[in-house]
């Protein structure tokens, strides 16, 4: 099986038995172009500018992935600070009191997921993530690589990492989510322990023991991704299209006047609402007023970034 390198253009050979490798068959180039044009006709911003766009013939890449089925368990102990307000009656008058309690909790949480790991060391980018998300949403049926490769052309990118390395990457990517789940579980248990389900919580110390209950990597699976370039107003932009159904998973588009108008409105709204309230409250409540003013300045700064952007990415 010949694979052509994206970086140096040299052909190389896939190791192992190609019959063991899977690939999702792709639509032909003409169908992909048709789907991309249909998508453009429906696009809110591009549909009015179709006459100024020129599409070029797309290139097909087959990206190698391992799909790793992971189940992680975590046993944890944590110290949680729970804060809530309580109404007390002093001489018959109701009064709010802030109560803070420190609660020690322990528990066990699990997390299962199938993680798509790109079997290449060089990161492809956003389009690879969007492609796998679309793969999970639509579940096309992979076939043996030999059958798919016989159907037509396309560049098969060589896999650079082993299934074991893919497993490591999958576990690594799930750990932050597992830790978030631990914190959520600890907070819920602490609230239950004090009997106030709406209390605010902060997890202070936690010790977590992980256990890998399941870790299996699929066979190497190639997913087809078409990269289609279009010319608008003299500049090149790209569509990244899932090969099996022609869905544009990532679209690079120019920033138009309407996007700039939206950014300007965002900057005005952030500055106006937060600034207006902030300064008006400034004398009554110094802290809240300052926070609102600062937040207004920060949000308006961020919104103004949209006015300076020349390209945008739509997923």
């Amino acid at each position: 099986m010949v694979a052509v390198c994206r970086y140096c253009g040299r052909p190389n050979f896939l190791l192992g038995n190609p019959a063991e490798v899977l690939a999702v068959p792709s639509l032909p180039s003409s169908d992909v172009v048709k789907k991309a044009v249909e998508r453009t006709k429906k696009d809110l911003n591009l549909r009015w500018r179709m006459s100024a766009m020129n599409f070029t013939s797309p290139d097909l890449y087959y990206l190698p992935f391992y799909f790793v089925d992971v189940r992680l368990n975590a046993d944890y102990r944590a110290t949680v600070v729970v804060t809530y307000t309580k109404t007390v009656y002093v001489r018959g008058q109701p009064r709010s009191e802030i109560v803070t309690k420190v609660v020690k909790v322990a528990g066990r949480v699990s997390l299962s997921d199938v993680v798509a790991v790109l079997a290449r060391r060089a990161t492809w980018g956003l389009s690879a993530d969007a492609l796998t998300k679309h793969f999970f949403d639509t579940a096309p049926e992979p076939k043996p690589l030999t059958d798919v490769a016989a159907q037509g052309t396309g560049t098969f990118l060589a896999a650079e990492i082993t299934p074991e390395r893919a497993k490591a990457k999958a576990v690594r990517s799930l750990i932050p989510r597992l830790l978030t789940r631990v914190e959520q579980d600890a907070a819920a248990r602490a609230r239950e322990a004090v009997g106030v389900l709406t209390a605010a919580t902060t997890v202070k110390d936690k010790t977590v023991d992980y256990e890998v209950a399941r870790l299996e990597a699929s066979r190497l699976t190639y997913l087809p991704l078409w990269v289609m370039t279009y010319l608008y107003n003299g500049s090149h932009y790209h569509y990244y299209v899932a090969g099996w159904d022609g869905k544009v998973v990532v679209a690079e588009e120019p920033a138009f006047a309407e996007h700039r108008a939206a950014s300007l409105l965002g900057a005005v709204a952030a500055g106006g609402v937060l600034g207006g309230l902030g300064y008006a409250l400034y004398h009554a409540d110094f802290f809240t007023g300052t926070v609102a003013l600062t937040a207004g300045a920060v949000f308006s700064y961020l919104a103004a970034g949209g006015l300076l952007r020349s390209r945008r990415v739509e997923k």
């Binding site: 390198c5 992680l72 060589a158 107003n233 952030a270 008006a280």
Partner: protein, 279 residues
């Protein structure tokens, strides 16, 4: 002093180092062994394609006739990368190859977190040196290796799941050169620079002239942001039952974030574009 076994140059070699890199030809010597595994990534975008990509990029505020700017210089820079084989004991399944930039201050600024490919390079031949400027490494392989923090963190996170501590060991494998076009063009009597990834023609960064229309438009946006915020601030304060003049002042103050950002852009001598996300 050390004498390079390849070019014969003599250079200072502080004692106690594992690796010595010849500042003249880049040959690496370690414990009496010379590393000759030198590769390059083949440039696929030529000079014309690189200029076309940069001048047709149309960044915000650039003049409409930027594609007609005059290309004045194009130099292909080859940035040196060290290649490593990394293993983690006692988990042999984690072993991998990695590449790290061998320069502390590269001639071309690369996007943050840029990950270099490590496979399928073309062996280097001295005749290729005519293609461009081959930069010599100024970091030794040990220092460059520690820029690969993410790789090590990933292995440690994996090992912690198995309640194991890993020991990192690595083997230096050689050097690979990564090509980047450093372009220069002239517009309105001024010179501007751009950098294009020569492996795929992506514009990495670019300086460009700001048109009068672009400046005026951005200055108008800054004024609109400030005045609009002031007006909305007054309305918000009124709605909340507070004094509208205080709201106006608050809106103005909070709009400084947007107004200053846009005014700085409008007042700048030149615009700057940097590639954001890799698609």
């Amino acid at each position: 002093m050390m004498q390079c076994p390849f070019c014969g140059a003599r250079y200072e070699a502080p004692p106690g180092r594992r690796f010595y890199v010849c500042p003249y030809c880049g040959t690496v010597v370690s414990e009496g062994k010379t590393y000759e595994s030198v590769f390059i990534f083949q440039p696929r975008a030529d000079k014309t394609a690189a200029f076309r990509a940069a001048l047709n990029l149309k960044p915000t505020g650039s003049p409409d006739d930027l594609p007609q700017a005059t290309p004045t210089a194009a130099e292909l820079h080859f940035l040196p990368l060290y290649l490593y084989h990394v293993s983690f004991q006692p988990l042999p399944e984690l072993e991998t190859d990695a590449a790290a930039l061998a320069m502390s201050k590269p001639s071309v600024e690369l996007p943050r977190g840029y990950r270099f490919p490590t496979c399928w390079k073309t062996p280097f031949k001295p005749s290729l040196e005519k293609m461009g400027v081959f930069h010599q490494p100024d970091l030794d392989p040990e220092s460059a290796f520690y820029t690969l923090g993410e790789l090590i963190e990933e292995a440690e996170a994996y090992a912690s799941v198995f309640k194991t501590k890993v020991t990192v060991s690595w083997r230096f494998e050689g050097i690979a050169y990564f090509p980047v076009w450093a372009l220069e063009y002239q517009y309105g009597g001024r010179k501007y620079a751009a950098a294009v990834d020569a492996t795929d023609g992506t514009v990495i960064q670019m300086e460009y002239p700001l048109s009068r229309r672009g400046r005026a438009q951005t200055a108008a946006f800054a004024a609109t942001a400030a005045l609009g915020s002031a007006a909305l601030g007054a309305l918000t304060a009124l709605w909340a039952g507070l004094r509208p003049e205080l709201g106006t002042l608050g809106g103005l103050i909070a709009s400084t974030g947007a107004a200053l950002r846009l005014a700085a852009f409008a007042a700048a001598r030149r615009g700057r574009y940097k590639a954001e996300a890799k698609l």
